[in-house]
C-alpha cells in the first residue's frame, strides 16, 4: 500500500490548494491514538480512489500554521479541498466505508 504523502505549512499551497484533484488532508499527531487507527483506513481509501482524489497528511504538531488557519481543534480531522477551497470536514476516526459515504460526491 502506498505511503500517504506528508504535506507541511510550506508545501500546503502547492500540494493541496493548487492541486488538480480533490485532496483529502488528514490532520494528525503522534500522540493521538485515534489518528493512528485512522491511518490504515485512509491508505485503503487512497489506494482505491486514486483516480479521483489524493490523500495527504499534515502533522499538526510540526505545522501549527495550517492547523490554526483551518481552525483545527479536534483530531483526527479529514478535510476535503477542491479548487483551493475547503469543501468538507470529517471529524474523528472512521472506518473506510463510513469515509466513502461521507466523501461520496468526490469519489
Amino acid at each position: 500500500m502506498a505511503e500517504i504523502k506528508a504535506v507541511t505549512d510550506a508545501t500546503f499551497e502547492d500540494d493541496v490548494l493548487k492541486a488538480d484533484k480533490t485532496v483529502l488532508v488528514d490532520f494528525w499527531a503522534e500522540w493521538c491514538g485515534p489518528c493512528r487507527a485512522l491511518g490504515p483506513e485512509l491508505e485503503k481509501l487512497a489506494d482505491e480512489h486514486t483516480a479521483k482524489i489524493e490523500v495527504v497528511k499534515l502533522n499538526v504538531d510540526e505545522n501549527p500554521g495550517t492547523a490554526a488557519k483551518y481552525g483545527i481543534t479536534s483530531i483526527p480531522a479529514v478535510f476535503a479541498f477542491d479548487g483551493g477551497e475547503k469543501v468538507h470536514a470529517s471529524i474523528g476516526a472512521k472506518p473506510k466505508p463510513a469515509l466513502e459515504q461521507e466523501f461520496a460526491q468526490w469519489l
Binding site: 485515534p34 481543534t73 471529524i91
Partner: protein, 333 residues
C-alpha cells in the same frame, strides 16, 4: 435441503477488543479454540487507547499507559494463536446454533459461539449546539484535543474518574479548567477527586448543568443552569470536554438478546450467558456499574470459560445425536 453449510465454522468469534475482548482471546486461545477477534477497524484496543496513565490495573506498580496495556494484551492473545483482525462486525445473526457475522469489508464468518465485548460509547449531553460544534470546541477526547487549547479557558462536564482524569490532563495545556457537575459532590474515586481539588488551575462549578453550547463556528460560551435555585448564567470558554459517562454499545444485537432496564446485555447470574445459547457477553456491554479495565478483563475470562463449557457440552450432544443417526435411518428406510 437447499440450506448451504458455511465453508468453515469457527469455535468462537469475539466481537470487540478492549480488556474484555482480549482477555477472552487469551483464555480461548489457550484452550485451543482458535478465537477470531474482530477488533474494530478504527477502535482496536477500545477505550483505553485514548487514555494516558492507568494506575489501578494490578501488576503495574508504577502505572501503565492505556495504549501500552492494550498492545500488551493484544500481543499476549496473539502469542497463543488468537486471530486478531482490525475489522468491524456490521451485522450479527445469533439465533441459530451456527452464528453468522457480516464484516465491514464484506464477507461473512461463521462460529458455534460468539462473545459480545463491544464495550460502551461516550454519552452526549443532548443540548443545543453540542452536535454542530462537535470537533469545533466540543470534544470527547482530552488526549487527542487538549493540545489545541493551550493557554485557553475550557470546561469539563462530569463528576466521575474520567472527568477528573480529563480535567487534570487538560491543565497541562489550558490556563484554566472549569469542572461542571450536576451534584455537590464527586462520583470520582477519592484519590482522583483530591488531585483535582488540589490543582490550582481547576475550579469546580457545583450543582450545575450545561443547557446550551454557543459559538459562531467555534465554541465561545456555555449557558449554565444552577439545579438548586434554577438561575441561569453564561460561562466564556473556548472548549468543552464531555465526560458524563457511557452507554453500552448494543445496537448490533439489541433486537436479538435480552437487555436489562439499563440497556446492558442481560446475563444469567454471575455467568456471561445471554438469553441466546452460544452467545456470551463480557465487559462494559453487560456492566452498568463497575466499568473498570480490571472488571472488564475478569468478565472476559468468565466468558471464555463459559464458551469452553458450552462447546464441550454441545460437542457431547452432537456426538450422541450422530451416534443415533444410523438407527433412525434404518427405521426410516
Amino acid at each position: 435441503m437447499t440450506h448451504q453449510m458455511p465453508d468453515q465454522v469457527h469455535d468462537v468469534i469475539i466481537v470487540g477488543s478492549g480488556p474484555a475482548g482480549y482477555t477472552a482471546a487469551v483464555y480461548t486461545a489457550r484452550a485451543n479454540l482458535s478465537p477470531i477477534v474482530l477488533a474494530g477497524s478504527v477502535t482496536a484496543g477500545g477505550e483505553l487507547m485514548n487514555t494516558t496513565d492507568v494506575e489501578n490495573f494490578p501488576g503495574f506498580p508504577e502505572g501503565v499507559m492505556g495504549p501500552d496495556l492494550m498492545m500488551n494484551m493484544e500481543a499476549q492473545a496473539r502469542r497463543f494463536g488468537a486471530d486478531i483482525r482490525n475489522e468491524d462486525a456490521t451485522a450479527l445473526k445469533l439465533d441459530a446454533p451456527i452464528k453468522e457475522i457480516t464484516l465491514g469489508s464484506g464477507g461473512t464468518l461463521h462460529a458455534r459461539s460468539v462473545i459480545l465485548a463491544t464495550g460502551s460509547a461516550y454519552r452526549e449531553l443532548g443540548v443545543p449546539g453540542e452536535k454542530q460544534l462537535s470537533g469545533h470546541g466540543v470534544s470527547w477526547c482530552a488526549t487527542c484535543d487538549g493540545f489545541f487549547f493551550r493557554d485557553q479557558v475550557i470546561a469539563v462536564v462530569g463528576g466521575g474518574d474520567s472527568a477528573m482524569e480529563e480535567a487534570l490532563f487538560l491543565t497541562k495545556f489550558a490556563s484554566k479548567v472549569y469542572v461542571i457537575h450536576r451534584r455537590d459532590s464527586l462520583r470520582a474515586s477519592q484519590i482522583m477527586a483530591d488531585r483535582a481539588k488540589a490543582n490550582e488551575k481547576i475550579e469546580f462549578i457545583w450543582d450545575t448543568e450545561v443547557i446550551e453550547v454557543r459559538g459562531d463556528g467555534k465554541v465561545s460560551e456555555l449557558e449554565l443552569r444552577n439545579l438548586v435555585d434554577g438561575t441561569e448564567s453564561t460561562l466564556d470558554v473556548s472548549g468543552l470536554f464531555v465526560a458524563i459517562g457511557h452507554d453500552p454499545r448494543v445496537q448490533l444485537f439489541a433486537d436479538q438478546v435480552d437487555l436489562t432496564s439499563e440497556g446492558t446485555v442481560q446475563v444469567e447470574g454471575r455467568t456471561s450467558r445471554t438469553s441466546l445459547p452460544g452467545v456470551f457477553a463480557a465487559g462494559d456491554v453487560l456492566d452498568p456499574h463497575y466499568r473498570q479495565a480490571i472488571t472488564a478483563a475478569g468478565s472476559g475470562c468468565v466468558a471464555a470459560l463459559d464458551v469452553e463449557e458450552y462447546l464441550a457440552d454441545t460437542a457431547d450432544t452432537d456426538a450422541a445425536e450422530a451416534h443415533q443417526t444410523p438407527k433412525v435411518d434404518v427405521a426410516a428406510g
